[in-house]
């Protein structure tokens, strides 16, 4: 076995989550339950359980596209955009964690507008809970 490219692309939590969900519920779901696919079943179950608690559960491809478009003026690196997408920070302290040298690169006003972009474009798990209670 050879590794051609050990880091061909970065994947967002949403992409991994939807791939694993498809594996679980797809047509081949029955075959996966065979003894031979034990490892795949274990890892996909545990990973889905972990990712369900993260913001990626409420995301979709359109939301991610919209998010990236809105982030363009902030000139963040790909890794930083990915972290914001996966964690959905709500405070300035969290922004400082994910973005290097945020105090030098972004003014306080820009940090506030970044937080509001995140809050409006990316749905939060609280909103989903509220919807469930109302219906």
């Amino acid at each position: 076995m050879e590794i051609q490219n050990s880091s061909a692309a970065l994947l967002s939590n949403y992409e991994v989550y939807s791939l694993l969900k498809e594996l679980q519920t797809g047509e081949k779901a029955g075959k996966k339950l065979r003894k031979q696919q034990k490892h795949l079943a274990t890892i996909s179950y545990e990973t889905i359980k972990y990712l369900e608690k993260t913001p990626c559960q409420q995301q979709s491809a359109e939301i991610i596209e919209q998010f990236r478009r809105k982030l363009r003026p902030f000139k963040l690196t790909k890794a930083e955009e990915l972290q914001l997408l996966n964690h959905r920070p709500t405070t300035a302290v969290e922004i400082q964690l994910h973005i290097e040298e945020s105090e030098e690169r972004l003014t306080e006003h820009e940090i506030d507008s970044l937080l509001s972009v995140i809050a409006t474009v990316l749905p939060s798990s609280d909103a989903a809970d509220e919807e469930m209670e109302q219906s």
Partner: protein, 204 residues
């Protein structure tokens, strides 16, 4: 947290799987080989993403299986250094705090990378952050097991755990001192920045 790795391998499809489409048989074999396994210098393999190229299949004498060279992409768990990850505290010891993500357990926050000042409480076997407020009082913030914790990945260590061959085995006493279990992929983390640590510490 997850990356896509491009790999090639020769996949053996045994005759009892010839009724399946070749793509499905290869997908099953690759997942059987790699899912939930750590590949040295790559990371923890999760699942097959897709097959990019299939070369011709060959059959070798004495063996009924078909051998096919496959180019494929695999989803691998490998957080980059300085990435922020959220996990659950598994246990505490003098060396530090052990964190688990459910699907991946070998994460250690060493004792000198915890918030300053922290101390290890022997009775509870837990680490405690002694947080001093401005008015001189101090709060003891315990790092209980099962709590969600946010940490920064500081280092990753790969250890090759392939077993040694017969030539290298020396006939020693049958009962050796138990060797430390080698961890193939270990992540070292730190919580010494503001915003890191238990989520409950920073939620307003």
């Amino acid at each position: 947290m997850f990356i896509l790795a491009e790999m090639t391998d020769v996949v053996k499809v045994p005759p009892w799987m010839f009724h399946l489409k070749l793509n499905e048989a290869i997908e099953q074999e690759l997942n059987k080989k790699l899912a939930n396994k750590v590949v040295y210098e790559l990371g923890l393999c999760i699942a097959l993403f897709d097959i990019t190229k299939l070369e011709d299949s060959h059959i070798f004498p004495g063996d009924g299986s078909s051998h096919t060279k496959v180019h494929f992409r695999y989803v691998v768990f490998r957080p980059f250094v300085d990435e922020i990850v959220v996990g659950k505290i598994k246990s505490c010891s003098r060396e530090g705090v052990y964190v688990s993500l459910g699907f991946f357990d070998d994460i250690l926050l060493s004792s000198d990378s915890l918030q300053h000042p922290s101390r290890f409480d022997e009775t509870e076997q837990l680490w405690v952050w002694e947080y001093f407020t401005e008015d001189g009082g101090s709060h003891d913030l315990f790092m209980d097991a099962g709590e969600e914790i946010r940490f920064r990945v500081v280092d990753e260590t790969f250890v090759d755990t392939t077993p040694s061959g017969p030539e290298q085995q020396v006939i020693e006493e049958p009962i050796n001192a138990k060797e430390a279990k080698k961890i193939p992929y270990l992540l070292t983390g730190s919580i010494s920045e503001s915003g890191l640590g238990l989520l409950s510490w920073w939620n307003s």
